[in-house]
């Protein structure tokens, strides 16, 4: 499925881009529908594409095996696979927990775009940074055991 | 064919502290009689060195949980001798009162909880209570009264806080001490009952010729004060300060024990029988009547019969305590003080289980230079083993278990206080601790 540039305008990460940049990215992007239970990537996989949730729900879990714990579920418009923007392996496992529509873009194309225009690069990275920081806060709250200590 | 029998108990029960005994009889001859103690040493004499002399009664109390006042009193007396302090008669009466509390507590504990089950055939007083609840409850009541008396005068039964060098840190109000009067009066009645009770106990036979050693305390039956030490058998009276020249302690490898004997090697006995022998006429008249009533002689040669002597002393302690409480007035001072000086002093008193002797050397700044403590159980230990040897042949006619119990019962007769003894008794710790490992 092809992706309309207008779809990218809905995603916070790409909202700062000039129209032509969004159109260029849209040409590289694809849209896919995935059923519940589909594994988008596993923790530790090599870097690859980045995804965005259009609808449905994606759950990220960390720590494979019996001790797996859910980190968070992602709401529409959130980025899935930000670590690829840094060229790092996947830090979590991403599973579709409610049938989802995803936009897929190769991370290398996004990075290339950023390098070409540092202002665009700054805007994209600032957005990505904020989403990552947000997740860090959540993780911290989970570590604090937000619901546990009371009687 | 040789007939060799071994009677042994690896963990002695109903005694204070941990010990075991072995009695071996071969072809009717006792070849080994050994009371050994595997209690770990605690080094009191060693760590007292360098402490302030005022701390000594608090520390020596910790030698024994049953007779701490005896330790406090003997050490305080020794230190007073070193400093040249002379407590007033009022202070001495207070000391006698608290010491009576300890006699009551310790004798009631021993007579009812530790020794009586032997005579009536039980493993413990708790078990005995199923059939003889009234007797056990009486024992507990008497013991409680002793403890209460100590509490009023010293705060708590074990390691009371008031005894100090020079006297007691604080004297009770008249009302506080009188509060125990009725309890003591009832205890006096019940202790008389106790004499009658234990006098009826079936008594195993054993006759021993003892050399008796006991404190002399003026005209009084000796409790809290030893002016001198008297020996029987024409051996005369020894000043407290030179007791360590009359008596020697020997490290006897065969018995694992540091044993005291007289200088000529004669074992001697201290404790209730010795006190009665030397001082029967000084007992309170009520106690003397009780003696007469049950036909107890002044010289008790059967060690098992010490339970009756203890009961008589219980009567005496109650009568004495009652009199002291009734006559009590708050003294001007509850302790005497004086300047520090370098010196040496010895002191003795009569712990419930016998003569307790202390000697200290102190420096001019009031710290302890050296300490020596000779507790009753160490003095009696050679005697205990000698008595075991005497008992040996009579056991051969008995079933083995009963014979072993009879031997253990004999050791209990001396009310041995093993923790007290430990700090000086030899500790040849055997590789296997058969008692509990």
């Amino acid at each position: 499925m092809t992706v309309e540039p207008a779809v990218l305008a809905e995603l916070p990460l790409f909202r700062p881009l000039p129209l032509e940049a969004r159109a260029a990215l849209a040409a590289l992007a694809s849209m896919e529908k995935r059923p519940s239970g589909f594994v988008i990537f596993e923790e530790g996989d090599p870097p690859g594409d980045v995804f965005f949730v259009l609808d449905g729900r994606i759950t990220l879990t960390m720590g494979a095996g019996a001790g797996a714990s859910s980190a968070r579920s992602l709401a529409p418009a959130e980025i899935v696979g930000w670590s690829s923007l840094l060229g790092r392996p996947r830090v979590a496992r991403a599973v579709v927990s409610r049938a989802a529509t995803l936009v897929r873009i190769p991370a290398s194309d996004v990075l290339e775009l950023c390098e070409r225009d540092p202002r665009v690069g700054y805007a994209v990275m600032a957005q990505a940074f904020e989403q990552v920081a947000d997740r860090l806060v959540d993780t911290r709250m989970q570590l604090l055991d937000l619901y546990g200590k009371s009687g | 064919m040789t007939d060799e029998r071994t009677y042994r108990v690896d963990l002695m029960t109903r005694v204070e502290g941990e010990g075991r005994f072995v009695l071996r009889v071969k072809d009717g001859v006792v070849i080994d009689a050994e009371l050994s103690i595997f209690e770990a040493p605690r080094f009191f004499e060693a760590f007292l060195r360098g402490r302030s002399l005022f701390e000594v009664p608090d520390l020596t109390a910790r030698i024994c949980g049953i007779c701490p006042i005896a330790y406090q009193m003997s050490s305080a007396r020794a230190l007073e001798a070193a400093l040249g302090l002379v407590p007033t008669p009022e202070i001495e009466r207070l000391r006698r009162a608290i010491y009576c509390g300890e006699w009551i507590e310790s004798h009631a504990l021993h007579v009812f909880m530790l020794h009586a089950p032997d005579f009536l055939g039980y493993e413990s007083a708790i078990e005995m209570a199923r059939d003889h609840r009234a007797i056990v409850e009486r024992g507990l009541r008497l013991k409680k009264t002793g403890n209460r008396l100590i509490e009023i005068l010293g705060g708590r039964p074990s390691h009371p806080v008031s005894p100090r060098v020079g006297g007691l840190s604080k004297a009770p109000t008249v009302a506080a001490l009188r509060a125990i009067r009725d309890e003591l009066a009832r205890g006096l009645e019940e202790s008389l009952e106790t004499v009658r009770l234990v006098a009826r106990f079936p008594m195993p036979e054993l006759e021993v010729d003892y050399v008796f050693a006991s404190c002399v305390s003026g005209d009084a039956y000796p409790i809290e004060r030893g002016d001198a030490i008297v020996l029987s058998g024409g051996r005369g009276v020894v000043p407290v300060a030179s007791w360590d020249r009359e008596m020697i302690e020997r490290h006897a490898p065969h018995s694992n024990a540091l044993q005291a004997t007289l200088a000529d090697g004669t074992p001697y006995l201290c404790g209730p029988q010795a006190r009665l022998f030397h001082h029967a006429e000084k007992l309170h008249p009520v106690a003397r009547d009780a003696m007469r009533e049950v036909g107890l002689p002044r010289e008790v040669k059967n060690p098992y019969r010490s339970i009756v002597v203890r009961a008589v002393e219980l009567v005496h302690a109650f009568a004495e305590a009652l009199a002291l409480v009734e006559r009590y007035e708050v003294p001007e001072r509850s302790y005497v003080e004086g300047p520090l000086r370098a010196g040496v002093g010895a002191g003795a008193s009569e712990a419930p289980r016998g003569l307790l002797w202390h000697r200290y050397e102190v420096s001019a700044d009031g710290s302890v230079v050296s300490a020596r403590i000779v507790p009753p159980t160490s003095q009696n230990q050679a005697r205990i083993e000698a008595d075991l040897r005497a008992l040996g042949p009579s056991l051969l006619a008995m079933e083995h278990g009963a014979a072993t119990r009879r031997a253990e019962q004999l050791i209990r007769s001396y009310d041995p206080c093993i923790s007290c003894a430990t700090h000086f008794l030899d500790l040849r710790i055997e590789p296997t601790h058969e008692g509990s490992a």
């Binding site: - | 040493p41 060195r49 608090d58 701490p68 490290h251 253990e408």
Partner: protein, 268 residues
């Protein structure tokens, strides 16, 4: 509850054990004159050599009361065995809880001690340190005191039997002293008193008898030993004396041992 017949629950088994000690703490159990017989109906006093010839050297226990410190190797071995066989292990008293008065040997040359006391030192086998039970095995509850207080002992036994936390306060002796209406010996008489840093439980006995607390119950929670030492110095207590006061009945407790060491350093 249904109507089906239930066998009465087995009485919990109690064991009383002794290491290096004076017997005063286990004597406290016999000293519960009013409660002893009732207690023996509620619990099976299966091993208590001081009180009964019925012993169970190898048995299992629901509650083990351990008196005394570890000061010989065989005691360490016995302790490991007691721990293995007991559901709950309760230390009773200062020896078991902090090493006791015999911990005064710690840090000293014990062979010299042995020579000082014993005529034939060759026979003596002992560890060079007297250590608390908790240095060797895990402890479920530590009951303080030299000796322990009988009401606290009953409270611990009751709480363990009923299944609640023992109501034993870790406050200072001052709290007890004030509740009793004693006049503070430190403030009113300048008497050195360890009460402000010592664990309550004795009923503030020493101040009641006009003397300063000497620390039978060991340090309270967060004991301000340095602050107290500073204050006592203002009152004229020399460092060497302070060191001895902290290194006494509960001298093996780390808070007191550390303060004593500080004062000894200063003195030297």
């Amino acid at each position: 509850m249904g109507s089906e017949a239930h066998a009465p629950p087995a009485r919990p088994r109690l064991g009383v054990f002794k290491l290096a000690s004076c017997d005063g703490c286990q004597l406290t159990l016999i000293g519960c004159e009013d409660e002893l017989l009732a207690l023996s109906e509620k619990v099976d006093i299966a091993h208590f050599p001081e009180a009964s010839s019925r012993t169970d050297v190898h048995g299992r226990f629901d509650v083990a009361l351990v008196e005394g410190s570890v000061s010989a190797e065989w005691q360490r071995e016995e302790l490991l065995s007691i721990r293995e066989r007991s559901k709950l292990l309760v230390t009773i008293g200062a020896c078991a809880t902090s090493g006791g008065v015999q911990a005064l040997r710690n840090g000293k040359d014990v062979s010299e001690f042995v020579r000082a006391v014993y005529a034939s030192p060759a026979y003596i086998s002992t560890l060079d340190r007297s250590t608390p039970v908790s240095a060797h095995v895990s402890v479920d509850y530590e009951l303080r005191g030299c000796p322990i207080d009988k009401h606290q002992l009953l409270e611990v036994l009751t709480a363990l039997l009923v299944g609640r936390r023992p109501a034993i306060r870790d406050e200072s002796v001052c709290m007890e002293c004030k509740r009793r209406g004693n006049v503070c010996v430190l403030v009113a008489h300048g008497e050195p008193c360890l009460g402000p840093v010592v664990h309550a439980g004795c009923g503030a006995l020493c101040p009641r008898f006009a003397r300063g607390c000497y620390g039978c119950f060991g340090p309270k929670e967060s004991p301000a030993t340095a602050a107290l030492a500073a204050r006592l110095k203002e009152l004229g207590v020399p460092a060497a004396d302070l060191a001895r006061r902290f290194r006494s009945i509960s001298g093996g407790a780390p808070a007191f041992a550390d303060e004593a060491a500080k004062q000894e350093l200063e003195h030297d």
